[in-house]
Amino acid sequence: MSVDATAPGGLIDRHVAFVAALRGAGLPVSLAESLDATQAMAAIDLRHREQLRAAYAAAVVKRAPHRATFDRLFDLWWPPAIGDGEPAYDDTTGDEAPDDADPTDNETLRQLLREALRDVLLSDDDEAIRRLARQAVTGLGRADTQPGRQSWFTYRVLRAMSPETLLASLLESVLAGQERGGLAEKVARQMLAERIRKFEEAVEAEVRRRLAEDRGVDNISKTAVKPLIDQVDFLRASRDEIAELRRTVYPIARRLATRLTAKRRLGRSGRLDVRRTVRASLSSGGVPLTTIHKPHKPHKPELVVLCDVSGSVAAFAHFTVLLAFALREQFARVRVFAFVDTCDEVTRFFEHGDDVVDALARMSREADVVWFDGHSDYGHSFDVFNQKWSDAITPKTSLLILGDARNNYRAQSVAALRSIARHARHAYWLNPEPRQYWGSGDSAASAYGEVMPMIECRNAAQLQEFVEGILPV
């Protein structure tokens, strides 16, 4: 190919604009890395799209969580096809029937595409899935938004294709007479669900590509990017996002534990270990070249977590409690109390490294946290805690209270909270609400905030920051 890369709209411009879009989406791409990417492009075969993707990823994506964002933007800026078409360099002509169908007859087209989808989902061919997604979007995804204006919709395509309704017949084919309900079905379901998700993702990507062709890549890039999972707001997380968050608990805990241990070790070194120093000096003729110190006895605080598990903030409380238990090696002891309008100890559900999902379900089923009407009542919960478990708080305790402090205009019992907090070594309140809403409406955040420091903790990133920076271990 003899294309002038430096011409306006050429390869260099495209590269610069792509890097700018990556930066816009929050990937820290330095100039050096951008240059690396261009060098990499020179070294590979540009006609091979997956090589180009790998080359860019190697040079500019340096954190695994950024990869999803990168892939979306890459698909927009380096699209696999233009318009309705097959890739220009792909000489296998589309032999699928839908091409011949009369595009005006939507129902026939739909049936043909569904047939094709059924076949594609049974084979494990990513390229076929993508090709079918392209045909489906071309055929079914376009709609008039207003006279003379058209747009593309994922929802229309997925509703018309409705891959889930194919599941029963697909399962039948995959299982081929094997017993239903057992392991074989579970495995088959998982496999099919995976492929259906692939198809849905391909449709979404295809719709974004068509939109980008109509309205310009820049405009679509800005809306195409989802926030990173550790930036997702606890109060607004969807069910899928919460499940994904829970998966990150153990990696986060491992990372935090490493950092906390390192921090603890960094302090002054222990007393000189005379015996081992002298012993070591014997191998260098009695000259003590290296001195050996006794390790420090680590100071481990007890952690008491008091969390609101009412509907609105449950996701936040669950995540934080799981994190506390995943980190329990960093503490002498972890005790957790849950409340809605009264308070109960729930440590027993988490203690033995039990299964996460089970523990959460059992906690909400068995713990005695509702006393009156099941709406948050911080005041009564603090009173109960103070009466029953005030001995849980000792001068070694770090106390964490989790909740949005929305008290439904009930009595606040600030005195009870003050007495709880007074006995603790440290006390912090983590609030998942944005700071600007604190104290508005039924929020008692300002009253409680005077008793103990209240910290905004809206997403996993802020929670990590708190554990690492403030929590005294």
Partner: protein
């Protein structure tokens, strides 16, 4: 002198050593070699990060020099160290008449230098693959040291002068991401995230590592492992564990994977009691 000519060349030659690379791995390895940059490989445990370095060394017919990182790793273990004991002996054994200058020059010579992995890799004239394993386990100061060595490929020993690489080694750093490596180090490296492979590649890997296992069983096994990975587990099964599982089934003479065989051998892939319980429940194993 590059070790490889194209990404396809990488793929073919790695496959000859038994390492099945996908597009991303092959391209990134090729680029690391072509651009002369260190390759930082990150990903969950047991996905073949260290194996990749070994495979590259075998494929390129190069010597593998390995620096295993751990907490408290320091310059003396990573770069070089003077052999104090030998120096002490030399001084004590010196003739009374010998001038201090002579002794001084003598004890700071090649003979008393203990080369550690980084220096060894830089001084080698033959093709070398330098593997810095589990970089995230080392302290932050070691990253500073690596930075210096990996950007210029030279080491300064004050008493001897600067030793520059005659031939740049192919550098692979691995990390389990237990902590974020510094931006500066990442900037100098090409980055490769190795994740669990797709079903087809995993099957091929199992078959290449355990050739005796029937293809149908391998397929079943890989699908089951993928189902396990989709559950909320503390530790998802890795490729290494898939391979172990295949070996186990083979050793037990089992040729299908049904509820009872999975139940009996689940311990090979799941290492936490709670994960075990969860899988048993979700997959209806008893």
């Amino acid at each position: 002198m590059p070790l490889f000519t194209s990404p396809d060349d990488v793929r073919v030659r790695l496959a000859e050593t038994g390492y099945l690379a996908d597009d991303a791995i092959a391209t990134t390895v090729f680029l690391a070699d072509a651009l002369g940059k260190p390759l930082l490989v990150e990903g969950p445990a047991g996905t073949g990060k260290t194996e990749l370095a070994k495979a590259v060394a075998t494929a390129a017919d190069a010597e593998l020099v390995r620096l295993q990182c751990y907490e408290g790793l320091d310059e003396a273990r990573a770069l070089y160290e003077w052999n104090y004991k030998k120096q002490l002996l030399r001084i004590q054994a010196a003739n009374a008449g010998e001038a201090w200058e002579e002794t001084h020059d003598d004890i700071f010579s090649e003979e008393f230098l203990l080369a550690r992995p980084l220096l060894t890799a830089i001084r080698r004239a033959d093709p070398t693959v330098l593997l810095v394993d589990e970089t995230d386990k080392a302290d932050v100061e070691v990253e500073g040291l690596l930075l210096e060595v990996l950007s210029d490929f030279q080491v300064t020993v004050p008493e001897l002068g600067t030793i520059a690489a005659t031939r740049k080694p192919f550098v692979v750093l691995t990390s389990n991401a237990t902590r974020e490596l510094s931006e500066a180090l990442k900037r100098r490296c090409l980055f490769l995230h190795v994740d669990y492979p797709d079903a087809e590649r995993e099957k091929a890997i199992v078959l290449s590592r355990v050739p005796e296992v029937p293809a149908a069983l391998a397929e079943q096994l890989v699908r089951t492992v993928r189902t396990l990975r989709a559950l909320e587990l503390k530790k998802a099964p890795s490729i290494a564990e898939s391979i172990d599982w295949a070996r186990t089934l083979l050793a037990l003479g089992l040729d299908t994977l049904d509820e009872s065989t999975v139940g009996q051998t689940l311990g090979v892939v799941l290492k936490h009691a709670s994960d075990h319980a969860r899988a048993t429940k979700e997959l209806g194993l008893n």
